[in-house]
């Protein structure tokens, strides 16, 4: 089945839809675009369609493939009519089969919109009055401009270290960007502008108003839309010569290998340690370079992991994955927009250095960037023997999972009845905003719990509670490492109690 094709024959939707049937498909969505009898106040009697076929077929195929990948649908195809059509004739048809109706509708909608925007197809309207005219419609606007003025890389090809060969290398490269937030919004245009042939974007979040100050790839109209889709749309408009694949999904243990094995470099733009370790581990397992960055307020850290060269990895520096919540993220601690923008651009720079074989690449190092004092510090970070023996290189390690040992899934009332002494480790303002559903419990913010020797009775059993169970997990593990064995963490935190 061809994803996109032209036909000069009348479109028979039922016949075209037949190959889309699949036993796993719970939903099928079809769209028929028909010739209508009027346009801008004039009576239309018929149409003629013309296309720059070679370009349109290639681009149309890409549109359908992108929609299949982005929405995870089973099958999709599109057929566009050419030649002379009468009023009521079907001009374009899209069919999508999917497991569920939501993604079938979404993919179908996206395909027809993209076909109308991106393909070099023109129509000539014949009017009742006898005359006719080529309609300056959406069709082909973008692609036609592209054909007239292709994206021009001459200013970077002019660099002796790049040249035509370097540009070809970039065009043949695939880079996966995990996270399309503050870092990702800088990395993505950097890569798209450089002409990286295929960019895949993985992010499950939707654009929020509070993201915009540091995520200028989005605008206010994108609020509420998946970041991966919005970013892919912007990049496709910015440089239509590259291929952009969006996955509006969280990177997880089930898809990490698939995403990362298929790329030449993975760029970690996530905002938490669990995700960073997931990226790191998959990169190490698959022998792929990973460019990892983090920001905090006015500073950032950058590391390039080169398992392909036997280099050190994130776990060589940070051997366990339980630190989320101990140090604030952008939401809790605040961040100035240019900070992730600069770190993201440094990531894009390292990707290009790596793909082009430029000198000065970070390797077995961590770069500390202080944007208040303008300090850059390259710290040597060699491979750690402990990491070698115990971490992902042996294929044994798993990303931070629920440890039955430390995490307890229980209602607070039941926990109290079972004799746990409950400690609310949230900050005072959090407690004020949402008090525990069980009154009279001890409140001891994380910082105070961890300082000095905690005031815990060895004979008692303690259950730590925080917002989502991340800080309490880290704190419980830490206290156990200090010899307090009777400390547990409420799995999922208060958020899990609401359900």
């Amino acid at each position: 089945m061809i994803a996109f094709e032209f036909t000069h024959e009348p479109i028979d939707a039922a016949q075209l839809a037949a190959p889309l049937a699949a036993s796993a498909a719970g939903g099928y969505a079809g769209f028929e675009g028909r010739v209508r009898d009027h346009n801008e106040g004039r009576t239309v009697t018929g149409l003629e369609y013309e296309a720059f076929e070679q370009l349109a077929v290639a681009e149309g195929g890409r549109i359908v493939e992108e929609a299949i990948a982005r929405h995870g649908v089973l099958r999709a195809r599109c057929v566009h009519r050419l030649g002379r059509l009468a009023v009521g004739d079907v001009a374009v048809w899209v069919g999508v089969s999917a497991r569920h109706r939501a993604e079938a509708f979404a993919a179908c909608r996206e395909i027809i919109d993209a076909i109308k925007h991106r393909l070099p197809i023109w129509k000539k309207e014949h009017y009742a009055a006898g005359e006719s005219g080529w309609v300056n419609c959406d069709h082909g606007c973008v692609a036609a401009t592209v054909a007239a003025a292709p994206f021009d890389y001459s200013r970077q090809v002019a660099l002796p270290e790049v040249g035509a060969a370097g540009q070809e290398r970039l065009a043949a490269s695939t880079v996966a960007v995990i996270g399309a937030g503050g870092l990702g919004c800088a990395v993505l245009p950097g890569l798209a502008g450089a002409g990286i042939g295929t960019i895949s974007i993985v992010d499950a979040d939707v654009v929020q108003a509070s993201n915009l100050h540091r995520q200028p790839l989005y605008d206010v109209a994108d609020i509420g839309h998946p970041k991966a889709d919005a970013a892919a749309r912007k990049l496709a408009a910015y440089n239509p010569a590259i291929r952009v694949l969006a996955r509006a999904q969280r990177l997880d243990a089930a898809n990490a290998d698939e995403v990362i094995a298929g790329c030449d470099v993975v760029v970690d733009c996530t905002d938490n340690f669990a995700a960073k370790f997931l990226v790191n581990d998959a990169a190490v397992r698959n022998g792929k370079p990973a460019v990892i960055a983090s920001v905090y307020q006015y500073e950032g850290q950058l590391q390039v992991v080169r398992p392909d060269l036997g280099g050190s990895c994130l776990r060589c520096q940070w051997p366990d994955a339980t630190r989320d919540g101990l140090v604030g993220n952008c939401e809790q601690s605040g961040v100035l927009g240019p900070v992730p923008a600069i770190l993201g651009n440094l990531q894009a720079m390292e990707v290009l250095k790596l793909l082009l074989g430029l000198p000065g690449q970070l390797a077995n190092e961590v770069l500390l960037v202080d944007l208040l004092a303008h300090g850059l510090r390259r710290l040597s970070a060699p491979r750690n023997a402990r990491c070698l023996g115990s971490c992902v290189r042996t294929g044994q390690s798993q990303p931070a999972a629920i440890s039955e040992d430390v995490d307890v899934s229980v209602s607070l009332t039941a926990a109290a009845a079972q004799g746990y002494r409950i400690i609310d480790i949230r900050e005072p303002e959090e407690c004020e905003e949402e008090p525990l559903p069980l009154a009279g419990q001890r409140s001891l913010p994380l910082g105070r719990l961890l300082e000095g020797s905690p005031d815990l009775e060895p004979a008692d059993r303690y259950l730590l509670v925080c917002g989502h169970g991340v800080r309490s997990h880290a704190a419980a593990e830490y206290l156990r490492s200090r010899g307090f064995q009777n400390v547990w963490s409420l799995h999922g935190g208060l958020a899990a109690q609401r359900g």
């Binding site: 920001v295 520096q317 510090r377």
Partner: protein
């Protein structure tokens, strides 16, 4: 008494209220130095949750400190 130069990042910068300082210390190791400074500046992160770099290389908490060493405590940050 080694005399060392410290650079502070992220929450250490906030808690110490400065980006760098030179201290004369009775501490002979980065671990002892951290304990001393934690006391002075109110650092709360447990040592198990951070890294130390001495003279631009990630180092051991129990190595010996010498005069003019540059010491950086590196907090785990993950914002993006």
């Amino acid at each position: 008494m080694p005399r060392v130069r410290l650079h502070y990042y992220a929450l250490f910068r906030e808690q110490a209220g400065r980006q760098e300082e030179i201290v004369e210390t009775a501490a002979l190791t980065p671990a002892a130095l951290y304990a001393e400074l934690a006391d002075r500046h109110g650092f709360k992160l447990p040592i198990s949750q951070l890294k130390v770099a001495v003279n631009a290389a990630f180092g051991d908490w129990n190595r010996t400190l010498s005069d003019d060493d540059e010491v950086v405590f590196i907090p785990p940050v993950a914002g993006g």
